[in-house]
């Protein structure tokens, strides 16, 4: 077991599966710029390390992640610098372009950027006590960790707007019936369930998982004929590597 400790998270690898534990429990694992940089490093490592077949992201303490750390807002030097940094440290594309499966194991509050991080993963497993919400518009913000793109792609535009405009959170079961969460389990079973899923996926041919992620993420917003073409190309390439 390799273990690495960052300021905002713990990173470890056991049985080929990487575990990322968000570690700011005193602020319900609020996402800040340090966490962004820590995650960036960790996910680059996961992508680069052939010994790692997949990863699980989860929260320490009572919550998954209660959103962005608002105490940091307004500290960006300027809009244009913030915009440059956004593309230099493009963490969200790194999530989406990681060819290895990512599982979010969610308990407690999963709010704003926390919800968006979960949506950037391939599978969300949630405990019964998990609560999901997008409060950005109450704060004069829009979701900016991909939420306006990932959520409508999984639940359609109407349910997405309903979630973005509602002051209430949704339960794990509601998220499950909408197709956001793939499995709801007891909090005791949460990590085991996520590990089972990761182990199952780590036994598949990694290039199949990578091709599948790419085809779905890219294809779900292409005209159908182009999506089909991308799928065919992947299939042909995979036949050759069989």
């Amino acid at each position: 077991m390799i273990m690495d400790s960052f300021e905002t998270l713990d990173f470890s690898v056991g049985d080929k599966v990487a575990l990322i534990m968000l570690k700011r429990p005193e602020v319900r694992n609020a996402f800040n710029t340090t966490m962004r940089d820590d995650l960036f490093q960790v996910i680059e490592t996961i992508k680069a390390d052939y010994a790692i077949t997949g990863s699980i992201i989860y929260g320490s303490g009572k919550d998954f992640c209660a959103g962005a750390d608002l105490t940091e807002f307004g500290t960006a030097p300027s809009q244009s610098i913030a915009r440059t940094i956004r593309w230099e440290r493009d963490l969200w594309s790194l999530f989406l372009n990681n060819p290895k499966p990512m599982i979010a194991a969610v308990h407690g509050n999963c709010i704003g950027s926390g919800f968006e991080i979960a949506l950037l993963c391939d599978v969300i497993i949630a405990s019964y006590n998990a609560r999901f919400s997008m409060p950005e518009a109450r704060l004069g913000l829009i979701a900016a960790a991909g939420g306006t793109q990932t959520l409508p792609r999984s639940v359609g535009p109407s349910k997405a707007i309903s979630i973005f405009s509602s002051p209430d959170s949704i339960t794990s079961q509601q998220a499950h019936s909408m197709g956001i969460v793939s499995k709801v389990v007891s909090i005791k079973r949460l990590m085991d369930s996520a590990r089972d899923q990761a182990t199952y996926l780590s036994n598949l041919r990694p290039e199949l998982i990578a091709a599948c992620k790419f085809a779905v993420n890219r294809g779900c917003s292409l005209p159908l004929n182009q999506g089909l073409l991308a799928e065919t190309r992947s299939a042909l390439r995979l036949m050759k590597t069989q």
């Binding site: 913030a82 989406l96 518009a137 109450r138 004069g140 913000l141 793109q149 409508p152 109407s158």
Partner: protein, 256 residues
Amino acid sequence: MSKRPVLIEKKGTIVFLILNRPKQSNLVDEELAWAIKDSCRFINEDSSIRVMILTGTETCFSTGRQTFPDSMPPYPDDWINKMQTAASIAKVNIPTIAAINGDALDHGLELALACDLRVADWNARLGFRDLSRGLFPWDGGTQRLSRIVGRSTALDLLLTSRILTAKKALAVGLINHVTRQGNALNYAVNLASSISELAPIAMRYTKEAIHRGLDMPLDQGLKLEADLSFLLHGTTDRSEGIDSFLTKRDPYFLGQ
């Protein structure tokens, strides 16, 4: 009751677009189409409005479809463009709610599908009867329906001309809420009031990011979202929202 085909009523920051031809089941004809389009333009130009509710007078929402004029017009495209009112509703930049107080069928359902959220009365029925009548939807029905309920439910509803009860429509995701009889508008007003307390520019941008983003590859959508988010950096609403959160008070948004 006024004879105008569409009534526009503004109450605070909520605007009501009320289809007012109950005797004709609010069938969208040329006059009604023109009135809806004109109203949508008015709504987009009034920045004090934060939510729109589309509904009908009495217990009528909108049903039926205007067929092509008897003698084919010289420019059929122009005729159809003139009649495409759902397109104008979809272009309204604030959140829109259809309060479906009666049947929403055919072109009427296309109007409802162009809204962001749909709330329907228990008694309301929804569906496209077009194919069974030898007609074809032409105001976004085939496109918006499949994006909202998925491809197979959309094909099922269009091909079979099946009409759904409100309860069934909720089950397939065609509407967001069912209310007890006569209560769709009240429910929509409550929903609209709660939305009107949100930061208005942020809500408009969220709507834009969702709808335009779905038409783009995911990586382009992420760029659009980020750019809209940086545009918000300059708003006083953003400072107000963050300050109110940090000082644990209710925000008051000016829309600036």
